[in-house]
Subunit: 253 residues, 2 copies
């Protein structure tokens, strides 16, 4: 397998400083069904910085909330750190998705957001977004939609953590990433995982050993092939079927 063919983000780092109207993500990022003139208005408040390196933070837990961030390329993880210093990963965000929705609640971030690889983001200053939303009904609607979708996604994830087996959790994560990459015309069946086993485990409420074992089992079943972070899904249907199964009816070998 050609390892670098399927990096999560391919171009875009270099093609910096475009505009929202040109951005190939604009149908996704603030799921915008806006008029051209409205897109330009949004464009005028967006700030594009230079790419973040792996490990760089967009914001940290406790930071005051200034902006939402749309991911143009790369991958971001969000997490909160408890009093014992353990980190709890709360989200994985890929191109076209928006981080920072934890901010409006109390005008400060309850999560940290850091880059899992080289990543570029658009900052959307929140006060200006709020103001603009008042003038552009479609934008207001999109913004509320975005938050509501996050709520629904979180509830789905809750369901996953509360009720499903390790197998189902891992399979669901892989399928989720697959589907989200496919929206950008990237391969749905061959890609580089943006997180380590340890991060995946943390996100899924498992241990890294368990995640590793699930990968092992799924490989033995020829459902997928992995080499570290490089992944090929050989049997997408079977992987999907797995996620529909309840804990118990997993017969192996």
């Amino acid at each position: 397998m050609n390892q670098h063919q399927h990096r999560i983000c391919t171009s875009a780092h270099s093609a910096a400083y475009t505009h929202c109207s040109d951005c190939r993500l604009n149908s996704i990022c603030l799921p915008l069904s806006l008029e051209f003139s409205d897109i330009d208005k949004l464009d005028s408040i967006v700030e594009r910085g230079k790419p973040l390196q792996k490990g760089d933070a967009i914001y940290r837990q406790g930071d005051s909330f200034k902006a939402l961030f749309a991911i143009r390329s790369g991958a971001i993880k969000t997490f909160s750190t408890n009093t014992d210093g353990e980190q709890h990963i709360t989200g994985l965000y890929l191109p076209g998705e928006v981080v920072g929705l934890d901010g409006p609640a109390d005008n400060q971030h309850v999560n940290s957001a850091i880059a899992l690889q080289t990543t570029s983001v658009c900052a959307i200053p929140y006060q200006r977004l709020e103001a603009l939303s008042r003038q552009v009904p479609g934008l207001q609607r999109n913004l509320l939609q975005l938050l509501s979708r996050e709520i629904n996604a979180d509830q789905k994830q809750r369901n996953l953590l509360g009720r499903t087996s390790a197998e189902v959790r891992v399979a669901s994560l892989l399928l989720s990433i697959s589907a989200r990459l496919a929206r950008h015309n990237l391969s749905a069946v061959a890609f580089t995982l943006p997180m380590s086993r340890s991060d995946m485990a943390n996100f899924l409420g498992l241990t890294l050993e368990t995640v590793s074992r699930v990968f092992g089992r799924l490989q033995k079943l020829k459902i997928l092939s992995t080499n570290r972070k490089d992944l090929v899904i050989n049997d997408l249907e079977q992987l999907q079927a797995l996620t529909h199964k309840s804990c118990k009816d997993n017969f192996d070998d």
Copy 2:
């Protein structure tokens, strides 16, 4: 213990058809820091129906999304039903809280919401709320805040389901209910549980047997006393301490 002294909702059923400006919940429901004149504007769009009986639905999964609902008295559970007909409880809502935030995502409800006991709600038609939000910046902010808080609450719950023991989950739920009732000057230590063991278990990603056993253990430790749904917390501090402990350091007897 006087069983009915601590019902979740006491008055309010009878005192129907008040206005937002009189409502003792108005500092909580859409965490409104609005001007009086703005409250009146909100009041003008709110629709107050007659109380729901236990088991009545506010809306059902798949219903088109028309309104948010602020709970005035009683208790609501929200849940989604999967293809196998199993229901997954996604939320418990008490007076002053708002249900229906799953709706804006795709203009339809992905959850159902039903009354766990006699309950009265205020309907806030969403289109009118959106329109009003454009005119009243404070209202827009409050609305976005509400959604963002739901996101953060969901993530906390996710953490609970993904990483903590049965003991911690049950204790957290009890403390959450306790704190939310206390906001209305109801007792924080003696109340009637709004849900069955089975609902609690479902919500917490456990089985009802496990929940029952945890109740048993906590009673043996004199931390609380239960009689079916009537609950007295004898040692609030110890219960709180429990939730700070990780899975392993639970030594008993």
